[in-house]
Symmetry: none
Subunit: 446 residues, 2 copies
């Protein structure tokens, strides 16, 4: 209703209520504040709010339960199945796991004005929270509670996002909310690291709803005032350095691929990148070698580069590839190559497109209006989330917050569960989803 | 009789034979050739030689049998028990497995001139052959014979050494040889790699004979002309670099332990070491980090340093530890430590002491005299064997050959079993052991 993609959904129909709606929608396209206000002030929203308040204990309980089910990259299945089982208990239909391992269910909208038979062709709002974490198998994911703080790897990023979606579905159901658009709620895989957005890629490029998703909301940020409208692009490599290897003592003096790799990392650590547009680089994983007393024949490293700017990303990428070559050349000059030279093979393992949803886009203006309506000041952000892909494909997409926490991707990750603050966070997320999906007038008649 | 440690054994007693012996011993201390000649020319040595010739088939049979019992590092027990069972069939007493897993038996000497009651305090010559191999569990150790060549991992290094000892004990027994000193025959564990000489360490530092072993012969070399009188020392570390970790993008700017480690490796790769005395260093294994988009909270590397010279080993070791600290400081200065600093913990995982038995030491002069007596030209060598430890403790120690072979530590390891050459190799080893342990005059009276 608020985004271009939904315009057909409100362009037909008859009767006074719809006329009012149509007018509201037209106004909303210019100024979404009134529409947002109408939704927040509706009795249904108040009922939903009361429900969310009572639902907090369950929210925390589910957060702990799901956090303690490991979901390493590419090994999300156990947690995905737990989310799938939960989805089946919620007011969504067509609950399933897709070919990529995403789990999802459809919140049926009224389809008001959509035309056509059935809901197959109707536009849909996808609301995603990724279920994967960055933490490898064997990481201790036991949640430790200290007052209102829950400490555990992945508890915030993004288990909190997943359980927030579940709580919102329960609230929508309890309040009898009717949305215009169908909403596809997804616990998706493959957001982190080498997952390389494979869950979202499947959803938007191969999945059964790929042609229906016209707006996209990822719940994968922190505070609710932050609206992520830009997708930080990233380039990721696994660089393999190879050499002849040999006995550490007997073959001493031969080139060592670990030295070439260290030379590359040391150079990389010294490059300068702009603070604005934010540009970053990281060596995330190193490995290689067979024994302490053998010169390795192979070592490798995983490298991540990101930028808010496509041009800056290209610059750091070019520098990186050049310094790998330099380091290899240096090692081939420093030691003997009589048994073979060092080579480096940078393999692209991640290519997260950069993209942007303009601040003037209806989805952004609507979300800003919601944030403002709750007395917060919208802060626009550029990040790297599942929303990168739809942004790069021209689908209006935004990433919103799941609530407060910190130290994401570290072993001392935490999230804060404080009933009052959490209620507001949930209200904002709910109002965003409803405002973007549109709420049909008939709820006002109940 | 020939080494300082044995002097008390020949300093007392009476009678003309002993007077002759004393004279011979005194002469031997200056010029061992005559004593060696006397032993080689004795009827007992000729009997032993005839026995060894006939024993060749059994030697080969036991070599195949023992080679085919796997003995990976830290998992030597099965083979050790087989050797223990064999030792029980031989003319040695006090056969046992010690606390480290070494198996051993004592060849009783005459203790002539030792004084005191019993043999508890009498000096002893330890003759060792390590039973462990470098090959991991699951390696195919089936012996394949091609003519006179036996092919199998570990067949030469050092199963051949172990079965040679057994054959020598049989020959000594068959010939009725009487030695002055007790001889401790040992099949020891823990020589290879991360075994870190644990068998020999136990023997010389904790075992029941630790105060009695005054001379030390390791049978762990190739050709009989090679006399290893220097122990290449090694220092091995596993260095763990830790930091606060964090999100590669969100926490960009925090210290990264992979940068500190790379800085250390890059520095290490640029140090200079002398070619003579040979000194080497190596980064053999690197690992760490959890995902491409996380700043690692931990990375580590395995480092090997070796030198023929204790002073040079200490120099490279000191340099290494200093440059690790430098690299850590550099990283803590280059990036933010607001969430924590980088630390490095170098854990010593291998410490093979360097040492040397001077070429002028009686044990070396005696062995050289034996080698020369068999028409070979002594070649002095520096290597890394069980003898390193006694050398570092000031115990006269030498590593001698077990016979020809090649490709040690590789899957295509082989040894050559050729009756004539093997006989000479066994004769040399026997003459070395007898000359070092001393042979009492009473054998000449039989």
């Amino acid at each position: 209703m608020l985004a271009k993609g939904l315009t057909p959904a409100i362009s037909r129909g008859s009767g006074p209520v719809l006329c009012v709606l149509l007018t509201a929608a037209s106004l909303a396209a210019q100024a979404p504040e009134a529409n947002v206000r109408r939704i927040i002030d509706s009795p249904q929203f108040k009922t939903a709010t009361a429900f969310l308040e009572k639902d907090h204990d369950r929210f925390v309980r589910e957060l702990i339960t799901l956090t303690e089910i490991p979901a390493p990259p590419f090994k999300e299945k156990q947690r995905a199945e737990a989310v799938l089982a939960l989805l089946r208990e919620h007011a969504v239909s067509d609950v399933e796991m897709d070919g990529a391992g995403n789990v999802m269910g459809v919140w049926k909208g009224s389809g008001l004005g959509a035309g056509g038979s059935g809901s197959e062709g109707r536009p849909m709002v996808a609301v995603l929270a990724h279920i994967d974490t960055v933490f490898p198998e064997g990481t201790d994911v036991k949640v430790k509670r200290a007052g209102n703080q829950l400490n555990a790897p992945g508890v915030g990023d993004n288990t909190r996002g997943v359980v927030l979606l579940l709580s919102l579905i329960r609230a929508m159901s309890a309040a009898g909310v009717k949305t215009s658009s169908d909403i596809l709620f997804v616990g998706n895989v493959g957001e982190e690291g080498e997952g390389d957005l494979r869950g979202t890629k499947f959803l938007l490029q191969k999945g059964k709803y790929k042609d229906r998703i016209k707006q996209f909301i990822a719940v994968d940020g922190g505070e609710q005032s932050t609206i992520t409208t830009g997708g930080v692009g990233s380039r990721r490599y696994r660089v393999t350095f190879k050499g002849p290897g040999g006995h550490s003592y007997g073959a001493f003096g031969l080139v060592n691929p670990a030295y070439a790799m260290a030379g590359a990392i040391a150079r990389f650590s010294r490059i300068t990148v702009p603070q604005k547009p934010k540009t970053t680089f990281n060596i995330g994983v190193v490995s290689g070698g067979t024994s302490v007393n053998s010169i390795p024949f192979e070592v490798q490293m995983d490298v991540d580069m990101r930028s808010e700017s496509c041009a800056e990303l290209k610059k750091v990428d070019d520098q990186f590839l050049a310094l790998v070559r330099e380091a290899v050349d240096e090692e081939n000059t420093a030691r003997s190559t009589r048994e073979g030279k060092i080579s480096a093979d940078p393999k692209l393992i991640g290519d997260r497109p950069c993209g942007e949803t303009p601040l003037t886009a209806p989805i952004v203006r609507t979300i800003a209006a919601v944030v403002t309506a709750f007395g917060l000041k919208p802060a626009y952000n550029i990040s790297s989330t599942d929303a990168n892909l739809p942004m790069s494909l021209g689908i209006p997409a935004v990433t919103i917050g799941r609530g407060p926490g910190g130290r994401s991707h570290s072993l001392d990750e935490f999230t804060v569960v404080e009933p009052k603050a959490d209620l507001q966070a949930a209200q904002v997320a709910l109002a965003i989803i409803l405002s973007v999906a549109g709420v049909t007038g008939d709820q006002e008649k109940r």
